[in-house]
């Protein structure tokens, strides 16, 4: 008996539907968590992108 026989006879036809529900629930969990995060933290993270390019040239010129 190979894996195909096992899978074919194990009633796994609903395998994908189970996956659908699990994936959906995990995603909902992530959304709930995101919505509950403090605003100050979000603001700080969003600002990271604007603070990444400062530097000084070897002769002292600001880039």
């Amino acid at each position: 008996m190979n894996l195909t026989d096992v899978m074919s006879n194990a009633g796994f036809s609903d395998f994908a539907k189970v996956g659908f529900v699990l994936s959906g629930l995990t995603f909902v969990g992530v959304v709930v968590w995101v919505v509950l995060r403090p605003k100050s933290e979000m603001k700080a993270h969003a600002g990271v992108v604007l603070d990444d390019d400062e530097g000084a040239s070897r002769n002292g010129r600001q880039s």
Binding site: L3, T4, M7, S8, F12, S13, F15, A16, K17, V18, G19, F20, S23, G24, T26, F27, V30, V31, V32, W33, V34, V35, L36, R37, E41, M42, K43, A44, H45, A46, G47, V48, V49, L50, D51, D52, D53, E54, G55, A56, S57, R58, N59, R61, S63
Partner: protein, 767 residues
Amino acid sequence: MDANGGPGVNTASPGEGAPTKLDEFIYDDATPRAFAFATVLWGIVGMLVGLLAALELAFPSVGAGIPYIAFGRLRPLHTNAVIFAFAGNAIFAAIYYSTQRLCKARMWSGLLSKFHLWGWQAIIVAAAITLPLGFTQGKEYAELEWPIDLAIAVVWVAFAINYFGTLARRRERHMYVSLWFYSATVVTIAVLHIFNNLSVPASLWKSYSLYAGVQDALMQWWYGHNAVGFLLTTPFLGLMYYFMPKAAERPVFSYRLSIIHFWSLVFIYIWAGPHHLHYTALPEWASTLGMLFSIMLWMPSWGGMLNGLLTLRGAWQRVSVEPVLKFFVVGVTFYGMATFEGPLLSIKSVNALSHYTDWTIAHVHAGALGWVGFMTFGMLYWMMPRVCQTELWSKKLASAHFWIATVGLVLYIVPIYVAGITQGTMWRSINDAGGLAYPDFVETLAAVIPMYIVRVIGGSLYLLGAVLAFVNLLATWARRPAHYDVVVHQAAPLQPRFRDSPLPESRLKGMAVVDLAHKIDVWQQGGWHRRLERLPLRFTLYVTLAVVVASLFEIVPTFLIRSNVPTIQSVRPYTPLEVAGRDIYIGEGCYNCHSQMIRPILAETKRYGEFSKPGEFVYDHPFQWGSRRIGPDLAREGGRQSSVWHVLHLQNPRQINDKSIMPAYAWMLTKDVDFASIPARLAALNKVGVPYPQATIAGGAELARKQAAEVAKQIVDQNGPSGLDGKQVVAVVAYLQRLGKDLYAAPTPAVAAATPSTTPKAAGGEP
């Protein structure tokens, strides 16, 4: 900048301590600069090839009977060039530029950066040589043969090591959301590429997919769909979340929304692939699942689009004068349009009309030219002056590019939408007598030729815009300083013994609730995800897990549950000559215009015959269902026409039907079949599961010659040309005459059938 190397969350993070010494580092701008030039150069090449392909559809004589530029070979060259060369180099340019800055660290290895840059260009050159020569796996967007696939895997791994190495030694504790999108791209593309391209080589430039028929189709569109998702969407979203705030000089509108956007793509996108296979022989459950997940994508995609556009709040007045912002605004708007239309097309009833028509082509180009193209050019116009340490050569020229490309884009997609809907409605039209209103397929083609001509004009304008961009960027580079200024950046290193903030206490303390409620409250406060964001390896692992688990849930049942692909006793493996003919069919890229999949739709069964069954394709390595119909479906072509009809049609389609736009394949009448390689081909097919006995494999060449002689004689008997014995056309005719006939054949044990009793019957065709 404070002593810790950066403001914001990292310095505020508890546990970071107070470092006493700042690191100094220099960004590698040579690599993004080189990738940027490669982007524009290959973009022009890819668009030029696309323009030639579009010209061949509008004016078939343009092909001039030259094999290397026949439409079937040209289209894969175009798609590969614009996806992997243009968009690929664009995302690498953006990733190399932004990752260093977001991590406050130089790329982990300069050597790996160079290896990635030149390795990728070498792969593109290899593709540009092999595809016109007809070396192809015959799977859309995965045409490249196994040696090039291996090279892609090696170069991609080098890129991944370099990228994750940079994340590991970053000096910014928080990984900005762009890095999440990049990470998802790096891991998912690796998974998709490896699994979709598993094949057994028959020679240096020929291999057979490990999967067959339905399974190959599911695997291919799992790949094809997610390649769009994780090569043309997630990295460009990462690009959007980095370059739009930079260009607008303000943070993204909602960082919260960007996180939801990211996780929704990871959790949902990966499931949506089967919407490419509605009404095919794919199991119903898989198809419905694909549709549901596609519709779920509507919300996050539009959330992402609005997030991008609202980032410009308070800066809209600059859009009128800044070409960079113009490109970004139109790019993001087209993201919204394409991601609205994608789920719409996944709805089965809409898909029944749109599938196989040019509607899909219009949708794809709205996304490719509008979203990918405009975001790329916006990014290049912003980045190139910075990495060249000068000003953009001409803002006016960039603005001219914007307007020319916008007009070109509209002129491209509008007529092709019209063409698609025209095709769909004409194919489905039933007259009062219950028959097809347009029974001759060529009628439906002739109706859309004017739209194809307008498309050529639109495509030319878009290409002209790309040429202007090249001139502008080249002139910008020419204005660079004699010696680039070496800009030194400073930031505090991350503490090796970082102590994360302790998990918060339950806010329900003291209340009469069960333990579980306390745990849920702590979880809701989100400390666990804050930790996760700071751990690139674990973060990447979870993204990979989400992608792989979703894929397995979808793919495993189709591979391992027999009821999904019911066996048909009468379906037999192809004869050795038919295998040779099928390989020529694949090499010529016939699947780019002809499907082999009749859907259970009334108009379709009236036009092409009995609808296709999953069990009919169990020996098809690879499957050849196709995705569009510039020509008619061929699933039941066997026996519909005489063999001599096929010979004359292949020699010059217009001597059969003067409105046909199919290329002439006259060389098939003079070029010999490669009989010597047939045993190796059969042996490779045997390894992937086609039950050829050893005697058939060993004597494959002789069996093929015998059948070829019989088919050639049949052609002569039908008043066709003589001297075709052993020529390619005979093998192709043998294959075409076999298509779709097994369903009606007497049941035969599969192994016994492996040495087929061929010809005139199997080769089909009545005089």
